[in-house]
Amino acid sequence: MEFNAILETTKNTAKIILSGELKASTAPVFKSEVEKAAATNPERLVVIMKDLSYMASAGLRVLIFAKQKMGANVDIYIIAPQEMVMDTIKKTGFHHSVKIMDEYDNDKVEA
């Protein structure tokens, strides 16, 4: 399945919607969107993974890059990861550092 990363920015939030397979050959596309998102100085990065069917370590490295680029005070939200993607997130301890939610409600998070 073709990989896509779509960036949407609002006042304080950068949202990236991922679909397809995130691996070494497609991770640069995600990284490029993270760089664009970082340039808007968001308070949080929301990554929608509902339609992401596969994630290799190349995807994890982009999340590390995002945190290091945006700063420790910018929260990363991972929304609706599929079971095996979630397995990778847990196995590598990323669930300790990001907020994982089934769905993202901007109004609730900002409240």
Binding site: K23, Y54, A56, S57, L60, A66, M84, T88, T92, H96
Partner: protein
């Protein structure tokens, strides 16, 4: 299954993933084992391309073949890149650290080795052999 030989570049890795997924289906692996095996092979194959070939400025191919038995599925990757024994790499020590304090290396190997029942590395002559074994029963 007939072995496949692909060129050692990132664009070729999809063919290896397709091959592994087909072999897993043939061996009746469930979706979890199939995903983990595909991930394990993909991580090592990515390392072969990026470090074994590109970084070392070596051009070469990757051979992939599957071997079936009553009890296991074995996937072999053979390449002629720089020698790299992933079994010698330590488990990342920063898995509990916040992302801003982490190093970016080592996660792929960790996922690969933990994704299969047995992982073997061998070096013979100028060739690297990475062998992934998944128990069927």
């Amino acid at each position: 299954m007939e072995k496949i030989i692909v060129s050692g570049d990132l664009e070729s890795l999809d063919a290896i993933s397709d091959y592994v997924t087909t072999a897993a289906k043939k061996a009746n692996l469930d979706t979890t084992k199939t995903y983990k095996l595909r991930l394990a092979v993909d991580e090592i194959a990515t390392n072969i391309v990026l470090h074994g070939y590109q970084e070392a400025k070596i051009k070469g191919d990757i051979l992939c073949k599957a071997e079936f038995s009553d009890t296991s599925l074995k996937i072999y990757l053979e390449d002629s890149g720089m020698q790299y024994d992933a079994t010698q790499q330590k488990k990342p020590e920063d898995l509990y650290k916040p992302l801003e304090e982490r190093s970016i290396g080592g996660l792929g190997i960790y996922l690969a080795i933990n994704g299969v029942d047995k992982y073997i590395y061998e070096r013979h002559g100028n060739s690297n052999y990475n062998i992934f074994i998944v128990n069927i029963k």
